[in-house]
């Protein structure tokens, strides 16, 4: 059975940022692990998440649904403006995942960074 490892870290920029480092494929079988973890963290008070996708080689539509749900839970309100989410950003997606992010149009709503420090300071 496929599994997903999620490591939770934190970093301090202008605000406190929770860094989720995900390793494994995010698909129909594993997306719930990411969704449950982020839901648990947000319930416990997390307000800003940097999602590190460096260890994800495949992300299916279930993974994108989980990311959308995360953005919603973090109180993102993209209905009023085209501005990107201030609360959820992506770090270092692999080429394969970056391609799908672009095809599905998620890059329009979520900032993507290659450098961790730059990402933390952008919040």
């Amino acid at each position: 059975m496929s599994t997903l490892n999620i490591m939770v870290g934190s970093a301090q920029g202008s605000v406190s940022v929770t860094v989720l480092r995900v390793e494994g494929d995010i698909d129909a079988a594993t997306h719930k692990i990411l969704q449950d973890k982020s839901s648990e963290l947000i319930d416990a008070g997390t307000t800003h998440i940097l999602l590190d996708l460096g260890g994800v080689n495949y992300m299916g539509s279930a993974g994108f649904r989980a990311i959308h749900a995360m953005a919603n839970m973090l109180g993102d309100d993209s209905s009023t403006a085209l501005a990107k989410s201030e609360y959820l950003k992506l770090l270092n997606p692999t080429d394969a995942v970056a391609r799908v992010i672009k095809t599905l149009g998620f890059d329009v709503y979520l900032d993507i960074y290659q450098d961790r420090e730059e990402a933390i300071n952008s919040f």
Partner: protein, 419 residues
Amino acid sequence: METPLTPTEYTIATLRKCVFLNGLEDSVLAVLASKIEPLLMEAGKTIVTKGETGSTMFIIIAGVAKVHDGEVTLATLKSGDVFGEIALLDSEVRSASVTTTCESLLLCIHRDVFYEALSTNPSAFKAVIRSVLQGKRGLINEIKARSLRLLSYQKEMEIGRRIQTDFLPKSVPDLEGWEIASCFEAAREVAGDFYDVFKLTSSSHLAFVIGDVCDKGVGAALFMTLFRSLIRASSLYGCIGSTLVDAGSENADDSANGVLLNSINMTNRYIATTHADSSMFASVFFGLLDTETGELSYVNAGHEAPIIFRKSGETEYLAVTGGVVGLFPAANYKVETATLNKGDLIFTYSDGVNEAKNTDGQQFGEARILKVATQQIDDVESFLCSMRDAVRSFRGEADQSDDITMLALKYLPSAGLAD
């Protein structure tokens, strides 16, 4: 005042309550009781493991245990319930695991002890056989009941499938100078893919849509009906003041752009706000084709790029012009254009085609799509049949994991001219 039971008498009473043993005479139960002792198990202890051979039956005196297959709980057992009894009669592997959910007291009867007790009275074997048969009868009744329930679910799914089929076009428009064909194969009874082809009433445009709702099964199918209906309704009708009019009729010069943007924006905004919590989305390619000139205006919302196979042998991809539909209310879509010339074919498809997997886990991929196109492109019907057959043959014994939808249009060469 009643005399309290001795431990052996208590064990006999417990054994007698057990359906599997209640046909045995007291003398046999007494022999059995004299050879077994209650065992205290801590919470979370796995007593029986699926796949292992066993030779012991267990009776719960007090406590609770769950019968499970991995993470899936199949049943909950409590005081008086029995498990593992089949192991007394044969040496097959355990069919499920059993784990205590709280501290529990159990009686364990080993196969050797059981046969030794039975051998004290020949009629005991008859009683055990009777119990086994009773158990079998119970099982048959349970299977019958479950089969009926399953049949009822299957009927419901079949009704769902039939209703969903009504959301796909029954036939494609017959247009002079054009050939249109479609192919739709659901991976399950109901599908998340859809396609649509219809003529706009306000102009000479033909609308064609292909979409893929994320996820599979019933949830995707319900959203498929919503996406398809919103796109078609908002393409056909609009309002000027309080009057319902044909979409695009107010500004004929820009009708294609207006219809495309109005339809995709409206559908996106509606689903992204009304159904925000479900995080459901669809990739959609929506084209408006002027069938008199071959001019195509389109929005590609996160969908696999349709391919134009030119008569000259060249290919052109209609890349994305915006993100998927249904997630971000303020999404911005662009309209792009392309021109189809006589002899050109446009092929739209869902990812069930290029991502079809064989038993080795390899994907059909774009290269194979192009290869089929070089072999068979004379008419759209046989082009789609060749593509479908190539995907099937590539997949081999592997399951069809996703819906397959294809829609192709060909601008026929002028009559009398060589193809």
